[in-house]
Symmetry: C2
Subunit: 334 residues, 2 copies
């Protein structure tokens, strides 16, 4: 599949985000938020669930795979529910069905996709079409815009007072991502070379960074590199998974900046003691001093995604296995 | 660690469940339920979250690892919150801390553990001490009692009308588990032999059975067999993980009886087509005709746990690696 640049301009994006935010504000009976998608887009929803889970004073939230969401057919999906969906291409059948399911039950639906004419954009009541492909702005990608919308909702509904700080942080993303890519290029290359023959690489994180670890495990490693993987929750690590740790078992362990950093730190301390093959990526090195401290924790996952992508690119390079190769997707019906 | 038989008698268990249920009924302001634990006990909470997620008309629910729960320090944990916790030994530090955290914030806390004098039993307001060890009744184990309590809560709060059916089903567990063990013994042995040299085995399920797949991956395979694993959500399988499927990649795929069976069936159809190493366990074979059809779906996970244990026992046998061996747990501080 070729990557097509679809330049929804920034003015259109701003008005789409504003329109969705206003629609949520206008529907005062909304008391819960469901965040639903599949795969990499589901991973995007996980830090958003964390933001609600730590900051919300009244709003309930739940993140679910889209097929699971629709199957559950919860009677609690109704006019009091906001359902936020995401599908990159807007064609993921389960996510489109989830949008239809939610909308038919009276929920307010907001979809994120790069294609404003996709089935998902059609199915949902409100759409934010983000940028994608060559020349996109890092401030206008899906995960950043979902974070901005949700911060705005928390401001409107609960006076969370984080929307402006998030907006300002996202505006810095083009510079921050460029700096991060440059800072990690050399280490990523060395890691990609050292890891080129590994049949399995685990990832580990907690809190708002778990989604980045999950996405790397299922999309970058399993899907795009055919390397076995699992995303281990750092808090769960000590209750089972840590027993497979040996000196030659490779891990990527994330150290974020949110409330769960001590949970991640404990796992990092153990895994680095018992395995010689641990890549620790610490968000303290992301250069986020210019981001307001109260939102640095929830913001860091956007940089993890960018930095991890550099490691995936390097791994793909040294394995001679481009990230774009698939054996099932795009090749058959399933 | 030796397994100690602690026979909390059935009369005591019944009165503990009834007492916890009455306490929940009496606190009418409860509007949300948090289910929190670590590892295998966290896996026990996952089908309970599913039960709320499909059946509840008003009650909100969320399942979280206990370290993550405490770290989040959500202001929504208050007198309107029921927090259900579980730790087998009652000594898991993160779960004990979660109980203290929740109770200090005014939440109603109910703990499940086999040891009524454990720190967790001490920390929580209400305790259900279940049976454990040689001679226990399968009707008096933790997962069955949590299910009974929650079904009762849903009856009391929302007239769900499932409590009696669940009670009757749980009462049949001693017979049902014995039958299931006998029915799967031969197949488990053959699978254990065929899998004895596999360095990695994936598990897969959705809905109320995901917890069984998760528990098998992190406790039985990673922890107790030092075999690499990951529990793949059947709905997520097609959005990344399925690309690592090859004819020699081993999977255990569960087919349950709840609303997500079509999601699991789709994954089973794909994985059995592309891998020759798939063990499919179908709850249709569990002989649950005597269980009321409206609760058969949520009930099946209790049998999955028993049947999967038979496969783990066989694997351990053929690998010459007892399930009780650890390299870190019980051997060092961490």
């Amino acid at each position: 599949m070729s990557v097509t640049a679809l330049f929804v301009d920034s003015t259109t994006i701003e008005s789409q985000v504003a329109e969705a935010r206003q629609a949520v504000a206008a529907r005062t009976e909304i008391s819960r938020v469901v965040l639903t998608a599949c795969g990499g887009s589901y991973a995007v929803m996980q830090p958003i669930e964390y933001l609600f889970g730590t900051k919300a004073k009244t709003l309930e939230s739940l993140a679910l795979n889209a097929a699971e969401f629709t199957s559950r057919a919860s009677s609690r999906v109704d006019a009091g529910t906001l359902v936020i969906l995401c599908s990159h291409s807007g064609t993921t059948p389960e996510t489109v069905e989830a949008a239809r399911h939610a909308r038919a039950r009276g929920a307010l639906t907001v979809a994120f996709t790069f294609d404003p004419s996709s089935p998902l954009a059609e199915a949902a009541e409100y759409v934010v079409a983000y940028q994608h492909g060559e020349g996109k702005s890092e401030a206008h990608v899906g995960p950043a815009l979902i974070l901005r919308l949700v911060a705005g909702i928390l401001d409107d509904r609960e006076q969370a007072g984080i929307g402006t700080a998030i907006d300002e942080a996202v505006a810095q993303l083009p510079v921050l991502t460029e700096n991060a890519r440059a800072a990690y290029r050399e280490d990523a290359d060395a890691w990609g070379y050292a890891s080129r023959r590994d049949p399995l690489i685990y990832t580990m994180a907690a809190g708002s960074n778990y989604g980045s670890a999950y996405s790397f495990a299922i999309c970058l490693l399993q899907e795009m590199q055919w390397v076995h993987s699992a995303a281990i929750h750092a808090g769960e690590y000590f209750h089972g998974p840590f027993e497979i740790t040996e000196e030659d078992v490779p891990f990527i362990a994330l150290l974020g900046l949110d409330e769960t950093r001590p949970v991640e730190q404990r796992a990092v301390d153990f895994v680095t003691k018992h395995s010689k093959r641990v890549l620790v990526i610490d968000a303290e090195s992301f250069g986020l001093d210019s981001v307001a401290s109260e939102v640095r924790g929830i913001f860091a996952h956007l940089l993890f995604n960018v930095v991890l992508r550099a490691y995936a690119d390097a791994l793909a390079d040294h394995r001679g296995h481009p990230l774009s190769v698939r054996r099932y997707m795009w090749r058959m019906e399933y």
